[in-house]
Symmetry: C2
């Protein structure tokens, strides 16, 4: 099997590539592509190419990869600030990829697309059902919703075999913050676990929907072999996750890493960030995805332990 | 007020133009645009221009119309047959229009967009609620749903002031059939009312959701002056209509035009058409639109009488 990962230099792309080369999926060829060359991985080819550039999509699919993971995107904060760039990357580049696939006669690869809970918009019920309506409140969410619709239409027409995964907020992200407004959800745990101070910009009663990077990798791997014949109405699946308040996250931190870690968190309210994240989803039903074998964590202690096992700086020392 | 109608040569565009020049809306300037020059109307300028052509959108908005009715589209049957053309006209041309508006600083016109019930997909409840999820089962429906999402995002960002109207199947359409699969819904009434034979290609127990061309014109006029401040989650409104089975439509025809008219209908099953229209919506709640003053017919007798008053060939003899 020939596998292509787009957005392979990103956090989830790198973890997915590592899982695949580690044996999670059989492959004869693995290509890792991103706007900057992804870090080298044994057994994989790397490619620096901007999917948004004319002709790039055709180059990426000309050798007909059987399985394509499409994780390339501009994050929510950037898509909100730069309207043109957000639509160019998050919508147009995806469409160029779909059209390049459709242009090859008889070619119908499995395409797993990283979508987002941001396709949904407030007001929310306590638990969002799988068939909740699409009323995104950000340009990022709009672009993901539009791409989901396109993916479903092209799949219905037999031009590709797509699945869109609506990912929870991924936590704990390793490394430096990106421009996503959700960044603090990782940093308030990651920095104390690394012995560093952290800033909590919002009230700790806020509740949100999470999964670990390891769970997200598992979602992509599960989607690779899913029987899509059962996905008739839409190819978009809301992924399972864990509903937790910030106070619960901090209690888990206390249990796993002690009061000293918790003491490193300083509450510095930022009304701008609080306004952005307050209307976010508290929990999702994810009934269809659960029934199809997608699995997430069931406690924040587990999410923290996964960070310590997979990404804590001490691992590489 | 400067008003622009795109798709002004189409059936609804012509009726809307006639209503406006007849006094339904005050205007200082009225421009009627379409790919072919719309029929001349007293007091209006006409323009033959393809919105899908590069630069066309900028030409259309350069004089900053205050109110834009965007009815330009490729119909469902054609969008299903010609993938590229459907996306080019129904999605890209709309986006070019929105972007041309957004490119003019300080310009934020009211933009009323003709969307469709086709944004929804089976399986349906008996009555589709306003917040039903978007799972279109046609490329046409996908293109309309994607454009709705774009319209909502651009409106949220203050780049334009959009409203998308999800129109019922418009019945009785005057004139010749277009390539919409729903064409027979009009022709089984129109042809007998005109003394001509008609073919019913599906079983008469099928139920669907209708409004007259006059009601549709009323929807556009209502949307022109609506206070959009209340439309927070989405700028798309499902329009009210009348739920009727084909048997009920034929009974109304019998009441209004007699058995002789009904006898002109011949049942010739067409499995292709039946397969297309069988999963269509039976009824919509349209609660939000009704509360905002959008009004449709309440009986098929009324829909038939409107045809006789507005469009029957005897009117122009």
């Amino acid at each position: 099997m020939h596998i292509l990962i787009l957005g392979a230099a990103g956090m989830l792309g790198r973890k997915l590539a590592a899982a695949i080369t580690g044996g999670a999926l059989p492959f004869s060829r693995l290509t890792l592509a991103d706007v900057v060359a992804p870090p080298p991985v044994d057994g994989a080819a790397t490619l620096a190419l901007n999917l948004a550039d004319p002709g790039a999509a055709a180059i990426l699919v000309k050798d007909r990869p059987d399985l394509i993971f499409h994780l390339a995107a501009v994050v929510s904060g950037e898509a909100e600030v730069d309207l043109a760039r957000g639509y160019a990357v998050n919508l147009d580049a995806s469409r160029a990829l779909f059209d390049a696939i459709a242009a090859i006669p008889g070619y119908c690869p499995r395409l797993v697309f990283a979508s987002s809970l941001a396709v949904f918009g407030a007001p929310f019920p306590k638990v969002i059902p799988d068939d909740f309506h699409l009323t995104p409140r950000t340009s990022y969410g709009t672009q993901k919703a539009m791409t989901e619709l396109l993916l479903s239409d092209y799949s219905r027409r037999g031009l590709l075999d797509g699945i869109a995964l609506r990912l929870p907020t991924i936590c704990i992200r390793p490394g430096a913050p990106n421009r996503a407004a959700s960044g603090f959800y990782s940093s308030i745990l990651r920095e104390p676990l690394n012995g560093l101070p952290a800033v909590l910009p919002v009230r700790d009663s806020l509740r949100h929907w999470f999964a670990s990077p390891r769970a997200a990798t598992g979602f992509f791997l599960r989607a690779a072999s899913l029987d899509t014949a059962t996905l008739t109405a839409s190819r978009a699946l809301t992924m399972p996750g864990l509903s937790a308040s910030i106070a619960e996250m901090i209690e888990a931190l206390r249990r796993v890493a002690g009061q000293a870690a918790v003491d490193l968190i300083r509450h510095e309210p930022d009304p701008v960030i609080e306004a952005i994240v307050t209307p976010w989803a508290e929990a999702c039903e994810a009934a269809t995805a659960r029934s199809l074998g997608f699995v997430a964590e069931t406690s924040f202690d587990e999410i923290i332990r996964i960070y310590l096992e997979d990404d804590h700086p001490s691992r590489s020392i």
